[in-house]
């Protein structure tokens, strides 16, 4: 039986994640969904869960701790768990993958279970990071940060 570690997303209180859905899922609800995903992948979810703040993603200390766990793969509630602002932390994504060669993203409905799939996904992420970096000005990021801090 494979062992998976889960990473939850800490939503802002006001976030409405989908049209028609009144509130963001709680940590317990996310954990339950990840446990079901682990089961579908032939394994179980480890009791120790990580929580990534939305917009900040897992920090390197959390990634260090995660890498110490004897698990077979990582289940991310969403790719947002590795996003700094609008950009995906590619190093963090690689570290999650290298932990067991199995990485699944619940919201995006993606399961990366071999190296070729992961390499293709990394290219997609890299391209989107480039597009987002190109299309957002420094002034916009500054404004977003001000709003976020307010």
């Amino acid at each position: 039986m494979r062992r998976f570690v889960g990473v939850l997303l800490e939503f802002d209180a006001a976030v409405n994640p989908e049209p028609g859905v009144a509130r963001a899922p709680t940590a317990a609800e996310q954990a339950k969904a990840l446990a079901r995903l682990a089961e579908r992948l032939g394994g179980t979810l480890e009791p120790e869960l990580f929580i990534a703040p939305r917009g900040e993603g897992l920090d390197s200390a959390a990634l260090d701790r995660l890498e110490d766990l004897p698990v077979d793969g990582v289940l991310l509630f969403s790719l947002d768990t590795l996003c700094h602002g609008s950009r995906v932390d590619l190093k963090g994504l690689r570290r999650c993958w290298q932990l067991g060669g199995r990485l699944a993203l619940l919201v995006e409905d993606l399961q990366l279970l071999d190296a070729a799939e992961f390499a293709s996904f990394i290219d997609f992420v890299l391209a989107m990071n480039l597009v987002r970096r190109r299309d957002a000005s420094a002034a916009w990021f500054e404004l977003v940060n001000e709003i976020g801090a307010a």
């Binding site: 993203l105 995006e108 293709s120 890299l126």
Partner: protein, 259 residues
């Protein structure tokens, strides 16, 4: 660039194009028919049976709007699990889509299925995709049966869409005025099976209650260039990479080492 795209799409924001690989489209339609039969618990169709007629007559197995909605949802899920409809649409209409989006192509991951039995009370309201979608997307609307009159969809061309938008900005509460503009400029497109309507995401479009005697069944899916500006939709949920050029692959490999 093929004339249809160059002359019509550029000017009006849409064009109706024949499949460059009709065999791919026929296979897609036969697969959709087989899935519908399976989901409805009907006997499997023989290979020689007329898929067009089977799909045209789907309403005979759908007693109410709820059962049509259920089949539509089940079919959408089944397509995701069993066949990449976006890839099939791209392959069937590649000759026309490629000149619009280029050679590094993103494809919508889950093709939308639209099923409107005669009299179905849920047509698609007037809207445009961009925003929130990127204005650099093309929508491929692919009927699996012959679509005409109210069984089809309507759209406002580029100029009429600009007028409608201007009217809405100036008179946001004037629904009657917008409706008059729509009545004057909306074009109901006739798209026979074997063809696709390609239209720009900035065009207003919608549908009305299907008053024809047969069922409308169509797919719609979107394509854009990998490096074109994004809309507000999350690209990782909405798109997948369909193909990249050798040059792009080299560039990405180069940057990957840098990151």
């Amino acid at each position: 660039m093929p004339d249809l795209v160059d002359a019509e799409f550029a000017q009006r924001g849409y064009c109706i194009v024949p499949a460059s690989r009709p065999d791919t489209l026929h296979r897609l339609r036969a697969s959709v028919r087989d899935l519908c039969h399976e989901l409805l618990g009907l006997p499997a169709a023989a290979a020689h049976d007329d898929a067009a007629d089977d799909l045209d007559q789907l309403h005979r197995h759908l007693p109410d709007a709820a059962s049509a909605a259920r089949l539509r949802n089940d079919l959408t899920r089944a397509l995701v699990e069993r066949m990449p409809a976006g890839r099939a649409v791209f392959a069937a209409f590649e000759q026309w889509i490629r000149p619009l989006v280029g050679n590094d192509v993103l494809s919508q991951r889950v093709a939308n299925v639209v099923m409107q039995p005669p009299g179905d009370p849920h047509p698609t309201e007037l809207h445009r995709d961009a925003p929130a979608n990127s204005p650099y997307e093309v929508i491929a609307w692919v009927p699996l049966v012959d679509c005409y009159g109210t069984k089809s969809m309507y759209l406002l061309d580029r100029e009429a869409s600009a007028h409608a938008l201007q009217h809405h900005h100036r008179h946001p509460d004037d629904a009657a005025g917008l409706q008059r503009l729509l009545d004057g400029h909306a074009e109901f497109v006739s798209v026979p099976f074997g063809h696709a309507l390609l239209f720009w995401s900035g065009l207003f479009h919608g549908s009305v209650v299907n008053a024809e005697p047969t069922t409308r069944l169509s797919l719609n899916t979107r394509f854009k260039h990998l490096f074109a500006p994004l809309g507000m939709k999350d690209p990782f949920r909405y798109f997948e990479v369909l193909e990249t050029t050798p040059l792009t692959r080299l560039g990405l490999a180069f940057q990957r080492e840098d990151e």
